[in-house]
Symmetry: C5
Subunit: 256 residues, 5 copies
């Protein structure tokens, strides 16, 4: 669970809402037709740009980005070192009961292949393919979010243009300019807020998250394949520590 | 037929039209001189930028993008595996009557060359050239749509400038500012809508579609050449499955 | 002669002029001081950015882009195949009287070197250098046009700022705002029109034209060198057809 | 300590403050709700884009950029040449008391490893890793500052939109337009000032500083490893001078 | 001396000044507080972005770009061919009195090394380093000018925001809007003019000039090293002509 994303979105909405309420007249900021033009128009443009499966996949990609907890590298290495020690002492079959303790499905899948006695090359090939597919989904999700971040302000401006044209058409006196213009600007506000508080930062987070998750997955592949080759726990720790910066490296020993 | 594109464009126009009608006075949004400046100006700029054949080709490229149905990979592989089995059992000539069942002209052409007894290298060379030409046409179409997406708002702004200059020139009283400004903004609205709902997303879809269609064509080349070499159905399935992600691979068998 | 460029510019001006005249008061759009600021400022900035020879060269580059007719590939191949046949039947000297029929100076130069008995390597070296120089001139012309396309709207905005500052300074009553603002906006209109109807599309056309002309020149080099080596007409046709897409290839034979 | 950064920020604020005070009514420019929207919104978006540790790290990266003094190359070379002479005359252990005179922690660490008798390869590996980590932190800090430089004006505009909508809603007479609009524009002013005077130039400085600091660190590695290999002072001077431009090279001799 | 740069800047200011004077009330365009905000703010941001030596170096880089005369290639080749002939006839020492006739310091330095009897490799190394340093200074100067071209309009906008906020705050009647707004827009005018007439085109010129000057320097290195190797004048002419386009090559012979 990425706290920063949730805290950022919540705090952002609190900041904006407070500013709106303290200024008075918050009712004007809740305007369903404006939501329809800005968000509806943006979704339609996204639907034209991408295919239906890509479009529908964005929600699960974002949800997983926020919800999924990437295991810290030290924990990953500790687990792998323990499993290597069990494997050397009791054999691969003894690992089977350890699998239940692991929550990360990718790790479970790798260990299961190990227990099933598959050779390291087969494990590496199959698991690498899964990383590549994940990277594709993430990169695709990033492109959709970036497109949404560009389309939302554009449709906000289109909504404001519609409102301005309608307001100016029936302009009787300068006094009546205020109300119409106020409503016309709501779509621009929606578009700017959606792009700058949601879509653009979320696309950035997805890119960083994609890098972190695929690095963790590469560490798991390296570890599982090393166990399958019968490496000793110390050699496995060394192999996995290549992925993390020196200052975070610890002298992890097997605890079994 | 790409449903998402059509649904997106239709929904987008429904959203915008509803917003216009519910605001009253939709008549003002239908303004032929404004269409002439925005769309006419954009078409002229496109004509200056590109050559006449490129310019005229864009319509057929877009139509084909929306209408053409790219065969799903599984169906392609199933067909190819069947044809390989027929080829091994009854010889290449027996494939001739299967050709009529295929709708994809590129696939038909490959099979016809196969039946005509051309060698795999000649088939690959000729068909690869066709992929390259298609990719050129698509990339050219994408560039034209992107240029249109930049030119439409620019000519929308030029139209609004013309309207503003004319309106301000004969400005007698602040009261008359509304009507003239309302008409002047129509061209900006047209330009923004055309760019953001049509040209920019369509250029994106054309890029994705180009990748999907050329991948399907590369699969067909790989399959037809493998049949021409006399590969068995299982080997052909393996060769064609390299193009699709692991999760979608199926254990397809020949049905003949 | 590139019809599309001329038609595009003419049609574009007709569309804009019609819009201006139908709106009434076209006189206001002809304003020499505004032309001086927008076009003069843009030319000065271009003079600062580029050197004098580059700046003066842009006019001849643009004129040649519009006027020069790139020979169609089929005609080029047909001519080259004929010359190869003449060369084999009557010797290189017999080609001399054919040279007068060719209008393309680059082709004439290549044939003259052939008749003069220069060896293929020398012909290729000298003619390749000329292609490179042309490509440099074109790429330089494209950069200047793109810079003009960015500078014109900038100086249009500078002109409008000058007009606004002067108009607002002596503002007595809101009624007088119209006329001054109307004149101030003319420079922005000039800048936007010059950039979007002339400079930006012309830079794009120059890029496409450069590619087409240098391809034709490369075909001529390939053909002339092949004749100098004594290749037969069929081999020359094959060599030159590599440059064009399959669908346009024809079974050209020597007509002599 | 980078004087230019501090002088630039101070002078910039003096210039802006003087302009505000001389224009009268500086009180209106201090508006806490506007700070909350612009800076608060920007910080929330940054929190969504980056992870919490990256976000918190930016303050220490910026502080170190301003405070840290990168030793001038000539001083670095002089020190290293002295140490090489001491090492050759009295042995590595004699260097131990020199370490206390060095303030740069990276230099101290290298010398300590030298005194401890580690071999050159180990010193180079460990110290190179530290450079890479520093480069990562700097590049990450640059990305955050650039994102802030883009987000600050965006939230400034969002704040102005909120202010405009509220002001226009309750618009009774044209006379009351001034005060509301004045307050609404404060957030745009904050966003533009924060981006152009702080975030964008600071991101640029961080990039230049990163290059300068890592070059100094690479010089230290080169020098310490050369001492560890037992090179003579002249050879060490030559090796370290490769990193600096010819005009700055001096004929440094050991002073011990 | 680059005439185009000086003519462009002078003509540009004449065009703008004429427009201002003919419109009446030029006094309003000379406003020192606006200069302080726009140019002062831009200089402060540049000081934060770059280091003090880089910042101070920009003036000399620009001055040299305008003042320095790059010797025409034909003159360079003629000189070098003459020196080669003298060298072969009378020996390197006879060149010493020719050095006084050369104004280009880089050329003088190369000839001096030649007379001093240094070997070609040493000459090439030392002189190449000087080219690299010059290229660094030019590329650095280009980056600073480009940053100034982006910062000037930004601080122009900041100045206009300050003016607008102050003007709107004390708005009593619509009539008083003119004067305040007129002054507020001056900073935007200054920023746009400085960027589009000075900084952006000058950055472009610096890039082109850098390429021309370093090419001339490379020709000098090639020529001096060839003389040092004892090449004959014809061989030297051939070596130096590789740097210029064929159409400009001349059959230069030694005149001694």
């Amino acid at each position: 669970m990425d706290i920063a994303t949730i805290v950022g979105i919540l705090l952002g909405f609190i900041v904006i809402t407070t500013a709106i309420i303290s200024g008075g007249g918050w009712q004007i900021f809740v305007h369903l037709p404006s939501v329809a033009i800005t968000i509806g128009g943006m979704l339609c443009a996204t639907l034209i740009h991408f295919s239906l499966p890509q479009f529908l996949g964005i929600f699960s990609v974002v949800k997983k980005t926020i919800v999924t907890k990437i295991p810290p590298p030290a924990e990953l290495i500790q687990n792998m070192v323990n499993f290597a020690a069990i494997n050397r002492r009791d054999g691969a079959l003894a690992l089977e009961q350890e699998i239940n303790k692991i929550k990360d499905l990718f790790f479970v899948k790798g260990l299961q292949m190990l227990v099933d006695g598959q050779d390291p090359e087969a494990i590496r090939d199959l698991m690498s393919l899964e990383i590549e597919n994940l990277r594709d989904r993430h990169s695709n999700g990033k492109k959709i979010l970036e497109f949404m971040g560009a389309a939302a302000p554009a449709f906000g401006m289109i909504g404001t243009l519609i409102g301005l044209i309608q307001m100016l058409r029936s302009l009787d006196s300068p006094e009546s300019i205020g109300g119409g213009m106020s409503v016309a600007l709501i779509t621009t506000f929606y578009g700017a807020l959606a792009a700058n508080l949601i879509f653009i930062p979320l696309a950035g987070k997805l890119g960083l998250y994609s890098k972190a998750e695929t690095t963790a997955m590469e560490m798991i592949i390296e570890g599982v394949c090393a166990i399958a080759q019968g490496d000793n726990p110390t050699a496995i720790r060394e192999k996995m520590q290549v992925f993390i910066s020196q200052s975070r490296r610890e002298n992890i020993k097997a605890k079994i």
